[in-house]
Amino acid sequence: MLDTLRRRRNRADVLRFLQVGGVYVATALILAFNLLFTPNFATLANLRLQLVQVAPVAIVAIGMALVIATEGIDLSVGSTMAISAALLPLYIGYGVWPAIAVALLAGVAVGAVNGSLVAFAGMQPIIATLGVLVAGRGLALVFANGRLTELFDPTLDSLGNDSVLGVPISVLLVLAVAVIAGVVVRRAAFGRQLLAVGGNRAAASLAGLPVKRTLVAVYVVSGVLAAAAGVLSTARQGASDPSFVGLLIELSAITAVVVGGTPLSGGRVRILGTLTGALLMQLITATVIQQNLPDSTARMIQAAIIVAAVYVQRGRSRA
């Protein structure tokens, strides 16, 4: 009798552990698998490559996590990346920093449009940001005349490819964004408002919180982060490619957020989980490629892992 009880409690503990840390366990497992079975995996060059490749998705995913915490979604992030990438070559004549500033401002503008449609016009986030996704990609192509432009700027190049103390700059940027987001969510008034709006919008409104301003702000943050990701991708490639940069990245970002344990129902957010989720998806692709399996296998494994990860977490979101 006691034994069964204890066993049941152990099971409950394991379950709770999986619910909270499933994504970390999965990431640890896939790392262990690679260390054992993939030759040349544990080299500094390869690890650095994986981190650099995941950087744009990770930055976009952090913004997406904040939006999802308000019970929203932002499908326009890939198009925002394209707009930001398309603006860089147009303004690089004024210097690299003004160009980056313009690109980020474009992210603010896109986010403000999204946020206003959601907060003031009362549109469903999925539809509002879908419209912006379609229009935004078109706008980026109009800016760039549909062409790929190569950029030869030493500052931009070093932003994309250099390291500080052995850590790539883009990875440092991801870490900085993650730390700021984590602190804001836990400590700042804005973070609390954001979670309150996502948890129960009516209650937040009755409690006198600035619901609409919070909603606009969170889409602006997502827009700026997407624009930053666009700058990073462009810097890394040494070329602005508005037709392809950020294509379907909204799905990767949503996946990272969801696998990381943030429920789509809002009111809760996990920044570290989101980062780990993005890394996990990257590692799956890398593992499959390095095992000489086709890319289609990677997608199918990713699909299975998404379902498994959310399945073990689902108890929490219902509680």
Partner: protein, 333 residues
């Protein structure tokens, strides 16, 4: 025009009625805008827009989207969402072309069975394992696309459907000036309207989407209803894929990307609420036609580049949905 079955009696309210039927501005939004756009288009572009041939092209272009959007309407009314349909369309197309070596029957049955299996798994994970529909169908989107690429040898092999196959001849046939896919989509629409408005199952779809707990307490087979809408949606996407393959005589794993979002947009423009419990297939039909007519009109403007076309259609989507939600809100007041 049909009326929504009222599951829970709404409080008595003075309503505008036309010949005994309630006037529903939220439903009328899409048809009214559609009529205005068609009239405006005919006036501006004349015969290059308002010709039988151009309308036939619009109808053919709309038919695939309509098939997907019919399933999406059921899913959204039941309170869910199905992101996997674009990938399933591609998978079905590839499987049609792959199965064509064994004849027309295999080329139709194989993709539909596989799509039904996808719908079943989606439905089980959503209805039984209670994982959010968005996530389950997002995973299915990845999986189906992966499978399509795997069957097509990572896109290196393009299976060709012979021109003399019965499927090809049927798929490319015309009847009374309309292509076969148009007739099939209209048939699916008719069946869908009957099922949604005239059967217990249809009533249950509304009830489940309106309030799942209440539906459960009323003794409705909630899990079965939720499962079936995803099977229907997947099979309809499969039919669309078979038809596309028959038209193009090949199966490409790259097609259909973003089609799920287009279908969701059409459903929402048609006045179906994303929160579930309310909506109509006639609205969806108007939404599909509206999207395709606008695309056609934008194409008519020769001076607009493809990039500007994207900008205009994105803005247009937002504007229509804004008008729609204004109309719907007035009704609520």
């Amino acid at each position: 025009m049909t009326t929504t079955p009222e599951v829970i009696a709404a409080p008595a309210r003075r309503r505008l009625t036309i010949r005994g039927r309630r006037w529903r501005p939220d439903r009328a939004g899409a048809p009214i805008v559609l009529a205005l756009v068609v009239i405006g288009g005919s006036l501006v572009f004349g015969d290059s827009f308002a010709s039988a041939q151009n309308f036939g092209n619009i109808a053919l272009d709309s038919s695939y989207l309509l098939l997907i959007a019919i399933g999406m309407t059921f899913v959204i009314i039941s309170g869910g969402i199905d992101l996997s349909v674009g990938s399933l369309l591609a998978l079905a197309g590839v499987l049609t072309a792959y199965g064509a070596r064994w004849g027309s029957v295999a080329a139709i049955v194989l993709p539909l069975l596989v799509c039904a299996a996808f719908g079943l798994v989606n439905g089980l994970l959503i209805a039984r394992a209670r994982i959010a529909p968005f996530i389950v169908t997002l995973a299915a989107l990845l999986f189906a696309r992966g499978l399509a690429f795997a069957v097509a040898d990572e896109g290196n092999t393009v299976y060709i459907i012979p021109a003399d196959l019965t499927l090809t001849r049927l798929g490319q046939a015309r009847w009374l000036g309309l292509h076969a896919p148009v007739w099939l989509a209209l048939l699916a629409f008719g069946v869908g309207v009957l099922v949604l408005n005239r059967t217990r199952f249809g009533q249950a779809v509304f009830a489940v989407g309106d309030n799942q707990e209440a539906a459960e307490l009323m003794g409705l087979p909630v899990a079965r209803v939720r499962l079936l809408v995803y099977v229907a949606s997947a099979v309809l996407a499969g039919i669309a894929g078979v038809l596309v393959a028959a038209q193009t005589q090949s199966g490409l794993p790259t097609i259909g990307e973003g089609r799920e979002l287009e279908a969701i947009a059409a459903v929402v423009i048609g006045g179906t609420l994303l929160s579930g419990g309310a909506g109509s297939l006639s609205g969806t039909l108007a939404g599909v036609l509206l999207l395709k007519v606008i695309q056609n009109l934008i194409n008519q403007v020769g001076t607009l580049t493809a990039y500007y076309q994207q900008v205009v259609s994105g803005i247009f989507l937002i504007v229509v949905v804004l008008i729609q939600s204004r109309l719907a809100r007035r009704r609520l007041r």
